[in-house]
């Protein structure tokens, strides 16, 4: 090692002309707030960087899957399934594919990244930092949101030349935002809760994916026979798919703004739940 000790006489983290430190070098309130902002941005940036670096595992597969669904159902079987509820079938399934992509990817990213950090022990670097629980949870959610939205955005870009367009951009984006928040927060909860990769994969494979695909992605729920129609009404993802369909095509079965309101409340509740789980520290700290 070299013969110098770097950094002598330099400032402490969080120092800035406006924030500053108290005379003995400890942080004042403003400096602590500035430090929190920087730390949150750093951890969020780390999560985004992980998604981008691993693009062939994080972005490409869900885009290919969704595009294949569109090619098979919208293209190869297009002659058989020309229209549903009076609209082109490809246009009909696009909203559900977007929601499925966001739910799966937002959930997978937040749960996997957090579980990996726990399992490999490097989460200690974050846990011993001055970041608050809410800031850490939001940073992990940012990674999930980024992955979900980028993947869904690419699916939308791939589909747009072949469909009639987007009826209500605001509604379509709002539903994707709420869906991303709900499922990235659920991913954080699963990342904290899971004791093994199997447990984490179990939630994704046996709960999230089936609920997504049975949420009226490929069919009109109102056309189903009983009891499937009633059962579908208990699937929360159905309402997100239906609201997204209202945004993309203008077609919907349920009360869209009620679905949005409920989704917004759920988004807040699951985020608070994730923060609370992180704050109590169970499964994170002995």
């Amino acid at each position: 090692m070299r013969g110098t000790v770097p950094g002598e006489g330099q400032s402490q983290p969080g120092d800035s002309p406006s924030a500053g430190t108290v005379p003995d070098g400890r942080m004042g309130d403003a400096a602590l707030r500035a430090a929190s902002r920087r730390g949150t941005l750093a951890l969020s940036g780390r999560e985004v960087r992980r998604v981008t670096k691993l693009w062939s595992q994080t972005i490409l597969p869900p885009v290919i899957t969704a595009v294949l669904f569109m090619a098979v159902f919208g293209g190869a079987l297009g002659g058989e399934l020309r229209q549903v509820s009076g609209i082109q079938y490809l246009w009909f399934i696009l909203p559900g594919l977007l929601i499925t992509t966001v739910t799966g990817q937002a959930f997978a990213n937040a749960s996997t990244s957090l579980y990996q950090a726990r399992n490999e022990g490097y989460i200690d670097d974050v846990l011993s930092s001055p970041l608050r629980s809410a800031e850490v949870v939001i940073s992990y959610m940012v990674g999930g949101l980024y992955r979900g939205w980028i993947a869904a955005g690419l699916v939308l870009v791939a589909a747009l030349p072949f469909v009639e367009g987007v009826e209500n951009w605001f509604l379509a984006l709002l539903v994707m935002v709420l869906t991303g928040i709900i499922f990235s927060a659920l991913g954080v909860i699963t990342g904290i809760w899971a004791d093994s990769f199997d447990q984490q994969a179990f939630i994704a494979a046996l709960i999230i994916t089936p609920l997504s695909l049975l949420g009226g992605v490929f069919y009109n729920v109102e056309d189903l026979a009983e009891p499937w129609r009633t059962l579908s009404m208990f699937n929360p993802i159905y309402y997100l798919v239906d609201a997204e369909r209202a945004g993309i095509t203008g077609l919907h079965e349920s009360a869209v703004w009620l679905s949005i309101a409920v989704a917004a409340v759920v988004a807040v509740l699951v985020t608070l739940w994730a923060i609370r789980m992180f704050r109590t520290g169970r499964r994170l700290r002995p």
């Binding site: 090692m1 013969g3 110098t4 983290p13 930092s129």
Partner: protein, 252 residues
Amino acid sequence: MRAVHALGIHDLDKVYGDGTRALQGLSLAVPDGGFHGLLGPNGSGKSTLIGIITGLVRGPVGHVRVFGHDAVADPRRARTLVGLAPQEVHLDRFLTAREVLSFHGRYFGMSTADANARADELLAAFDLEGKSGTRPNRLSGGMRRRLLIARALVHRPRLAILDEPTAGVDLELRQDLWKYLSRLREEQRTSILLTTHYLEEAEALCDRISMIRDGRIVAEGTVPELIAQFGGPRLEDAYLRVMRAEPTEAPR
């Protein structure tokens, strides 16, 4: 006016969920600028104590103050002042060596420019310049250990906690680390809490040494004081006498 200790611990208890009582009424003080050794066998409570100070172990009973800040009730301020090099080498495998340091600094509130500059300084100081773009899992064991210690120092902590920093490293690196840590204390007045199983390391570096056993501090003093109190020409003899004493004989 009473001097503020770098670390002040009073009557600390920790019972894990399975009923294991890891710490029992432990008290310890490290003065500002002090180099304090913590010696004890595996399972004596050293890592639990360090975990409580750094927020990695929850729910202790008692008082832990870092430069006067309550590390349990107001942990954020305390954590900004502490740098931890843990015993186990856990480094983020998605980042390069330089990013490991830079991101750590930013988690602790440094600006990106400051954190990057500090990362470069420490990479140079720890002879890791040539590995700045390498991911930790591609570094040798000694390099990973150096990176871990460098990471603890990125945010310029006033108290560095080094949990067996020389475990499993070769003699040359160990001696380099000793020199570096001594200079860190002398030149920057960084307070250091060091745990180690190498008694000669504690003897060479520490002003004072605490011996921990069954979650309690059972002996404390300078090396000459400990030798005078417990006998033997070397610290090792005093250590063995303290650790082999019947629990009731162990002095508090």
